[in-house]
Symmetry: C2
Subunit: 275 residues, 2 copies
């Protein structure tokens, strides 16, 4: 029914969990979406490091990384050449009612294997729309990939309804944050720039890879404040996420980007990384 | 294990659900917490109306209200004299991976019955702390009781750690929004005032009851903007939620409220309502 190829709950093959799980009740947990390619979980250490940071931020005690790695190995053993692995860690079943954790919950992990149909984005780039909803600043939750994703759901639904690849989310003050399911970079004469994710947004793994690899490619990169006006003076724009890699933007709202060669160089470099 | 006395998933006794439920994956759903008292679900119509509004806001098609009322009747039949009923409606199992709903999901409802130990708040009122985290403005999600509640979880954990009854959440601009698990009212010389919930916070059912009943009690009531400075000039403050009813605040951060007689009059009135 669901489209998942296989799944494990706390290491045991299975696809159900208790309804009192705080991940369902409150979105109290974190997740990762990992690309499996040719028998490897790409950038796994970056994914697991972010998962760990997310748990720490939520004061969610999860230490079953050994078991998690075994789940991942089991998934890789049956994965097609290209697949997506979703790792979800929740605070576990509620031991009483109410928002505040009791402190005696036992974290739960759910690992599921999904097909990854080949992407065929237009080589000229993808088209984006502006999300109509400002996304709220929430420094306590920004950067981590927690389970409170309704803002992304609404923005992604908007993109879908308008035939766009993704929707760009802005904060209340107008600054760019990210795509609904991606991070956003601009290519300018001063190098690359991508929004900070310390007040809103997710610190994507592919974003981290681009930030890390930029120097190798001789590119300056800045993490900063981007206004909608900055778009107009940018040469290129591109999206990143673990599934899609690096994808050029052809159009964002009314603005068209004429070029994408820097983006394509980065995409080829990242694609070729043996990770 | 969980403390729930009974639960139903889509009308069938049970306490598990598929891990691909979008309520778990993204917090894609809404919930209600209803007080059951002496064989009645208090203010049920207000709860169901809010549930319906929440589903509409999320474009989540749920129309099994007849089945839901049957679940509630089953719960009432086995509830102790005082109990809490939690109703959760999710968009249902994901039919593919990704934030945007495919459109063919089938909404799922989970109804669980919980004990409601008698409250014994100090008759002089409860003590509150300030939540250290600003809560983000998110007009698309404000007012409804959706499943993205990590902000409330962190604030409630903070209250618990500091021995307080609840934590007051403020927006980035400093205005008061609500408690982590309650709505907040001030009593001033000009009547009652409670924060708007059109940019952040939840439109609580007990808040709606107080707004509705104020006229009967000869009280003016305003829904507006409240700054921390407004607290100092207020005569009283009180909290509302469906479980606790109306509870006076003795202290909020450094500020003490000397009086609570208006609050106590409202509390007694609401408590006596035959609903």
């Amino acid at each position: 029914v669901s489209g998942a190829l296989a799944s494990w709950v706390d290491g045991t093959p299975g696809d159900t969990l208790p309804a009192v799980d705080r991940g369902l009740q409150y979105g109290d947990g974190v997740f990762e979406t990992v690309l499996l390619r040719a028998g490897r979980a790409r950038f796994l250490d970056l994914h697991l490091a972010r998962l760990r940071r997310g748990c720490q931020r939520l004061d969610l005690r999860f230490d079953a990384f050994e078991g998690l790695r075994a789940d991942i190995a089991a998934a890789l053993a049956q994965a097609p050449p290209l697949a997506v692995l979703k790792i979800l860690v929740s605070r576990g079943s509620a031991t009483r009612r109410g928002y505040a954790p009791a402190g005696d919950e036992i974290a739960r992990r759910v690992v599921s294997l999904w097909p990854a149909p080949p992407l065929s984005p237009d080589p000229g780039g993808v088209d984006l729309v502006w999300s109509p909803h400002p996304c709220g600043d929430d420094p306590a939750l920004a950067g981590i990939k927690h389970l409170n994703r309704l803002g992304n759901v609404l923005a992604a639904a908007e993109a879908q309804a308008r035939g766009a690849f993704d929707a760009v989310m802005r904060a209340g003050d107008g600054r760019l944050v990210s795509g609904a399911m991606s991070n956003l970079f601009l290519v300018t004469r001063r190098g690359l720039i991508t929004p900070e994710v310390d007040r809103a947004g997710v610190a994507g793994v592919m974003r981290a890879v681009v930030l890390r690899e930029a120097a190798t490619l001789g590119l300056l990169v800045t993490v900063g404040h981007i206004t909608p006006e900055d778009l107009v003076s940018a040469d290129e724009a591109f999206l990143t996420n673990a599934r899609i890699g690096v994808v050029p933007v052809r159009r964002l709202g009314e603005h068209r980007f004429a070029m994408n060669h820097v983006c394509r160089r980065i995409a080829a470099h990242v694609e070729a990384l043996d990770a």
